[in-house]
Subunit: 344 residues, 2 copies
């Protein structure tokens, strides 16, 4: 076969995009039947696909009978029990479909995520559910796109062109602020840690908006260490401003469990002289004393949803991209009480 | 090629074993140069290998240049933070070797472990580190043996013919009993849960032996629920015998964290009116109040060791099987105190 012909049979999405004079990302959206693309652009991309024979290649990929019945899952870390619960949800749904999960950690590092994704592809997984590492560039998705590897974003999102399952983090923050406000708290801090990504920003913005909506100061945001064992020792950071808070909302339960211990060390009684709300509602919330009031993001349900999105996409690769954002629920236990005047 | 000839070129370990009139497991031990096989048997198996041409096949497998640079890891579950720490150790060593870990859960189910191992093999991993699911039969290893898939057992062992990295669980139990005895405790309970496997039996026997060596009653063993959130509610089980214990040693830190909360609920002060020791020394031991005294099994170091055993075996598949059993260390914090007469 002359090399020109051989080339022709390996038309890439980039070829289509160049022919249609659009970005590769836009061409990808057209393939996924995204509503974000205008009809004129769509028509141009579809014409380019027909002319270059791209449709046929895609169809062949779609119809490939050989499936490995294996789904790849990539998460930032496994030290937070939240991810273990998310995985339990993913596995139960993937299991029911007679498939197997293989898992890898990105360590929240873009290069590592790159390598792991590449390796999973080489191993022939049918699709990947991933929680994008902080700092993942959209170009990453374009590259994966070339591989025809079905993807689902979970917990964090970097593209509207790809399925996503997550929680309404901003709504959860509102529930936490409302609960504390109903107990009379006005000086409410927010304790965060870790890298910045969509779920981080949605929580910070959710906290700020909810505080501002009540006319409260939204700037009491403290950063605590990422390492579990070092969080209790950071509780004093809450009290380094002139107007001390009477309550704290935590970015996740790992922080809440650590600050609960740290506040105890400072002589405060959580749920009585200081109020504390966690986020995620992991199993440990039930096991510490006082029991932790926490915003439930239902990680297991998010995991199941992400798995279903992927299974649906494997069954029909032309489905338009879908977003499932689950509502949160405040699980009230013992770690909050009515506001009290500070001890003399 | 006549079918007879073709068959000959696919000699299996079973053929070798039958020719040498030994079990398949014994033949496998010979290949691994295990010291457990007598010289006469070894000579017979090696003769059979030569006659059937098995050596040549093995050599071909050993010399295969094509590596996927991927290591499979199979653990029973991910809800126990102990496994997350073990994985961190495995990953850091595998990372340093420029390889990638893919992970799967067996759920402590033999059939699931079977499927996952098969899938990993199909995906072409270079080797597998696995914590054998409870009830794994030795035949499982014989089958994997046929695949020429290098294996390392971690935390639990089912065969002496295969590399193993674990902790001296019995020694750890002795350290826990000795510490409580030094504080005057005599009525010491042991709280367990989960399925029975080598690490379970070594802990139970270690507890019994250490108690008997001091002339103490070794039969105060209670079983608590497996589900984290249900453990606190099981603390009363400790006090259902006529001679109530003054201290409890826990099978792992998940149980210790749960019973710490449950004892608090019963009005006891852990570290003062009741003593409690955990096992594994996970990061959370530092984060609850009172801080948990726990036997450190150094899961991260065990993980690194298991990874090194596998890397060594990939470099030289003919190494004799090795066992690395790491010493434990009691990490004394706040959850134990001198024995007191029970409250009136």
């Amino acid at each position: 076969m002359p090399s020109e012909d051989r080339k022709k049979s390996r038309v890439t999405l980039l070829d289509v995009a160049q022919r249609a004079n659009v970005s590769r990302a836009t061409a990808s959206l057209v393939i996924r039947k995204s509503p974000l693309v205008g009809s004129e652009t769509r028509a141009r991309v579809e014409a380019a696909m027909r002319e270059l024979g791209y449709v046929y290649n895609m169809g062949a990929a779609r119809l490939r009978a050989e499936r490995s019945h294996t789904v790849g899952v990539i998460v930032p870390n496994l030290m937070n029990p939240f991810f273990a619960e998310l995985l339990a949800g993913i596995e139960s749904a993937i299991d029911s479909a007679g498939m197997v999960v293989i898992l890898a950690k990105s360590g929240d590092l873009v290069e590592r995520q790159d390598m792991v994704m590449r390796r999973m592809r080489e191993h022939g997984v049918d699709g990947v559910i991933f929680c994008p590492a902080a700092g993942t560039a959209p170009e990453f998705l374009e590259r994966v796109d070339e591989w025809n590897l079905p993807l689902v974003q979970v917990l964090r999102h970097i593209s509207e062109g790809i399925d996503y399952a997550g929680a309404d983090y901003a709504g959860g923050m509102r529930q936490a602020v409302d609960h504390l406000a109903s107990l009379g708290h006005e000086r409410i801090a927010f304790a965060v840690h870790g890298p910045v990504h969509s779920a981080y920003l949605e929580r910070v913005e959710g906290f700020r908006d909810a505080m501002l909506a009540r006319g409260l100061d939204p700037e009491r945001i403290i950063r605590v260490p990422y390492q579990t064992a070092r969080i209790p020792g950071a509780a004093h950071l809450l009290f380094e401003t002139p107007e001390k808070p009477t309550a704290v909302i935590c970015f996740n339960d790992v922080i809440a469990l650590g600050l609960s211990a740290g506040l105890h060390d400072l002589g405060l009684k959580v749920g009585e002289t200081f109020s504390l709300i966690g986020f995620d509602d992991v199993a440990e919330a039930e096991v510490i004393r006082p029991r932790l009031t926490s915003v439930s993001t239902a990680p297991e349900a998010i995991g199941e949803t992400a798995a279903r999105l992927l299974l649906d996409r494997l069954a029909d690769p032309l489905l338009p991209p879908r977003r499932v954002v689950m509502e949160t629920r405040l699980h009230v236990r013992q770690s909050c009480g009515p506001v009290r005047p500070p001890a003399p």
